[in-house]
Symmetry: C2
Subunit: 192 residues, 2 copies
């Protein structure tokens, strides 16, 4: 962990993807590694922190995840929109996308998954919960978050803070075909 990244308490980990950001799914096994973009992920539980993410069964990422039983979700900011679209449109089966795109990854503290920090708001290291039926029928992989960290300039004390001075860390949300919207414009609902 480097720069502005700080550990996130596991009880707060699901909040990192509560608002539906696009994520980069990173994976590694036996000396190979990969990353892909995924628009389809969500928390399913706060405690223990559990998530679901859709990873197409034809992808190299799925093979690595099945082999290692692990992956990480990294939350790219606006400066990584081009990269997110690129790594969602090519396979890592025959090429190391990290090398191709000059991506620097460090190792997650629990499972050793590659995690990205530069240009990202946060990452979550996840242990797969094998669910053969939903993986086959819906490409939906369930996992438990075992470590998480975030850039303290946008997430600290278990809370997101979207401000004018941290736009480059704000999460991006994929509309389709390479068009993203940035989360921003905070709305504070009246307490019921």
């Amino acid at each position: 962990m480097s720069g502005h990244f700080r550990p996130v308490a596991l009880a707060h980990a699901s909040r990192l993807i509560n608002h539906g950001p696009t994520v980069l799914v990173t994976s590694a096994h036996a000396g190979r590694r990969n990353l892909m973009a995924a628009a389809w992920s969500m928390p399913v539980e706060f405690t223990p922190p559990r998530v679901a993410v859709v990873i197409d069964k034809r992808t190299w990422t799925r093979e690595l995840v099945a082999a290692s039983g692990a992956f990480a979700l990294c939350l790219p900011g606006p400066t990584l929109a081009d990269l997110s679209y690129a790594v969602g449109s090519e396979s890592g089966r025959d090429v190391d996308k990290f090398a191709r795109h000059g991506i620097v990854a460090t190792s997650g503290p629990v499972l050793g998954m590659p995690v990205l920090e530069a240009g990202c708001a946060a990452w979550l290291e996840c242990r797969l919960i094998p669910e053969t039926h939903t993986e086959e029928a819906y490409d939906t992989c369930f996992a438990e978050v075992v470590a998480a960290a975030a850039d303290e300039r946008i997430f600290s004390g278990g809370r997101w803070s979207f401000r004018d001075d941290n736009i480059e860390l704000q999460t991006i949300h994929h509309l389709g075909a390479g068009r993203f919207v940035r989360a921003g414009g905070v709305i504070e609902a009246r307490k019921p």
Copy 2:
């Protein structure tokens, strides 16, 4: 369907929640109806359009969904942030939340689920795909979208269009504790 709402082709329905908006889950059975907010939903397939949504098994909504085998997802805009927070914080077991909050709902065309249009960007009428294990273990309900519609001022031709003149229809994304971010600030990624 009224006002600016137009049918969305089923092949485009999953795009409506591709970017992770907060949704209102509506349900009805045997003369009772309910709505609640859910931050946790995602598409799992484009064709046929299928979604997953987390609905706590202790909720009245889950009982209605189990009984009817159906629900709808409605996408509130910023003017419904207070309502979204309110209906996510109270149970409809003993009160009709539509009446309490003065919410006008119409009936979905295929399953008759209550759907909201005023203040919303879109709705999806969904038929539950019974999956006992994931419903129990992760409160995760899978469903197939059987009808969808959107306000043509923000979604038409199968595409979202977030602009300065439709801010009040832009989707909201829950950060937690009643704080939402509005999607906006379109980023067009370079074609890979």
